[in-house]
Symmetry: C2
């Protein structure tokens, strides 16, 4: 699956210029540019097929659906068994002796404490070469097309083409998973967090509950946001309001501060509609007694009492609990893409982009990550390329904790994460620069 | 109409506690609190009725629909004629001799240069006393109701109740205008910008193309944002995507960088869908040849080739140009409400909240307003209450310009605003404090 995301992004980015650069379309790169995609992902339900898309060599879906870990871990059959051991929960990283990840990127992962058979996080990190299509001496491809008809054309920046390519890649992936579900009865879905570096800019695309932050000179710069029933309340309510058939007469798109009792009919109650950020009062009517589309708070917030994450790929078959209503329209495959311009700041070797799956962020705050960045990196020479792997390992260990009192415990005796945990640490000004 | 906005806000804020404060609802104000609403508004089409809602003394719609200027201008019949003179365009302010606006708020306005018969901006500024409903010694009103059933109740802050009351006030106003349209054949619509001060916080609600900024120690703090086909593209596209019947088979919800020619069918073209912030390529299909839902750029951007503002009250009868399709669902009555906590900063007499209708902002940037704030206020003693009126007049004059070369010209010889212009200047730390 990761290959498909990566291929789709690479394909779209490379073919972004397929129709030739228009006279008013600025700065489409005609020269090839290095690019990387580094997505960790955390399937929510049984993992969908892992495999490559149409751009990759053909394998059967069945073969690709078998359990595997990232190839860059170079795990032997014995190593694979250890990585799959829920009791030991050994932290895995690429071997010191092997080839490093691009730009000395650090990576570490650990399996869950038994909540699912396999580690359902997946990751890849690669340099992709994009073949540009050179036009002769920069002239437009369609010389017969006069300038006049472009006069009212909107300006499309190179950056927005990359963002659009990534957005479309997510949608294509989602559609491909729908096709494979029909063809092979492969089910499930996943979140995805993708980083693309291209022409001096870092693009971070997130759909789900993974998170990316930049730690720069100790400062935290969020590069993604969480998509939950609470953060996406208004989008979900609007969908339920405009398409009431999606609620099947069982749910109300209105939000109330608590569940309404039938005996309260006719009384006044606080509510929020899809257009509101505040609360106001309304008289309780019969349909307000339906179950709320969005209910619960924090980690317990759910859409139609079913899902707690509102962006992700796949899950086309997912139904509302004890119902035949589909969840999918409320679960959107579109990512939010944030752009970080590397050229706007002089980065030092301690400036990093940290990507983590929910297993990390469930028990670790942004500030704790920044403190670990400072602590670990200051213990290594700035030009030691192993420092980013050490940092990724420290972050995974800090979230996993150690076995004590019949569980995995953090130093403060709170429970560590029993989930799969995967962390990338990408240096922004480290020994392998992006030039 | 302004009275109705104000009444609705005041009514809702005052009755916000009508069902008693719940045990977990924090800090509902039981004591009366002063509150002000200061909305300028700029009708886009012939003005809807000006008049009061159900909470105000009954007048006939016809009487209220007649032309008038804000009562605080205390205009004589002769003054009213001068205010209505498109050739002289005399700047109007409350008389120096009369009662000042609350907190020495400054106000100035000028009529348009002939684009419509009357000044279609309207304004009011008042202190409203909200009568709280005291509960006996703070006990909940429904003592029979146990605490247990509230255990999962969402926390509703006092601030979000005020925001919700304002949001609902806009919706109620919109519904009332729909009723009056049916009952009295009164048509039209307007934008609205409302400021409410309550319990140390300033609430700024905007639906339309007016704008509010705070100028604090020379720094500009935007207190509203513009609602145009461009800033609301994704909301409009989503509506067209989910409710294609609103597009009547005449429009496509997709955006393209330019109008597509029929001969381009089957070629690839950049597009944006409702979920996208970037651009990607698609093959042109037959329905892509339809007219785009959102088209044009900047001041010329339009929804269905008809409206350039996407939030406002009324206009329930407005149809798409040469069509029977209603515009209304794309034109939303809901404001965005921003909250500014006055207690978080020690304000000086030069810190002001500036409200202006589109006539001001069409030709004046935020920075130019900030420069005028500095220039005018520094010429007056800090405790001179007339300084805010002088500032409002300077802003209106600066946007109107002077008659020269057969038009109203600014000092840089560019055209001044030929539109109605209205400006409030509300001091945040001036002689009349909010305590």
């Amino acid at each position: 699956m990761l290959n498909r995301v990566r291929s789709a992004v690479a394909h779209l980015v490379s073919s972004g210029g397929a129709p030739p650069p228009r006279p008013k379309s600025p700065d489409l790169p005609n020269a090839p540019s290095p690019q990387t995609a580094a997505p960790p992902e955390a399937p929510r339900s049984p993992p969908a097929t892992a495999g490559s898309g149409s751009a990759a060599p053909a394998k059967t879906v069945e073969a690709r659906a078998s359990f595997s870990r990232p190839t860059f871990l170079q795990l032997s059959p014995g190593g694979l068994r250890r990585a799959d051991d829920h009791a030991g929960r050994a932290v895995q990283s690429p071997p010191d002796t092997g080839r490093r990840l691009p730009w000395s990127t650090g990576y570490a992962e650990v399996i869950n404490a038994g909540k699912s058979r396999h580690n359902e996080d997946q990751a890849c990190c690669e340099v992709v070469y994009v073949e540009g299509r050179r036009s002769v001496s920069g002239a437009p491809r369609e010389p017969s097309q006069g300038q006049s008809c472009w006069s009212s054309q909107k300006e499309v920046t190179h950056e927005s083409l990359v963002v659009g390519a990534i957005e479309n890649a997510f949608q294509f992936m989602d559609e491909q998973m729908a096709r494979e579900r029909r063809g092979h009865q492969v089910e499930g879905g996943c979140c995805a967090l993708v980083v693309v570096y291209l022409l001096g800019k870092v693009y971070v695309a997130n759909a789900g509950d993974s998170r990316a932050i930049i730690v720069r000179n100790g400062e935290i710069i969020p590069m993604s946001r969480e998509f939950t029933p609470e953060t996406e309340r208004q989008r979900l309510q609007l969908l339920g309001f405009l398409k009431p058939e999606l609620l099947g007469g069982e749910f109300t798109h209105l939000e109330f501060p608590r569940r309404i009792q039938p005996k309260e009919l006719g009384q006044r109650m606080l509510y929020r509609d899809q257009n509101m950020t505040g609360w106001a009062y309304k008289k309780i009517e019969l349909e307000d007694l339906r179950f709320p589309l969005v209910c619960g708070e924090g980690k317990k917030a759910r859409v139609m009492a079913t899902i707690g994450v509102t962006r992700g790929l796949g899950d086309h078959n997912l139904k509302v609990c004890s119902s035949t209503l589909p969840i999918k329209p409320f679960l959107s495959c579109f990512p939010e893409v944030r752009v970080y311009d590397l050229t706007q700041y002089e980065h030092c070797p301690d400036d990093v982009l940290v990507l983590g799956t929910d297993g990390l962020w469930d028990v670790t705050s942004d500030c704790e990550v920044a403190a670990t960045v400072d602590r670990v990196l200051s213990a290594y020479e700035p030009n030691d390329p192993s420092r980013y792997t050490a940092l990724a390992q420290a972050l995974v260990l800090g979230a996993r904790g150690t076995p004590r009192d019949r569980g995995w415990r953090l130093p403060n005796n709170k429970l560590g994460s029993g989930d799969d945990i995967s962390v990338f640490v990408i240096p922004l000004g480290g020994p392998g620069s992006y030039s």
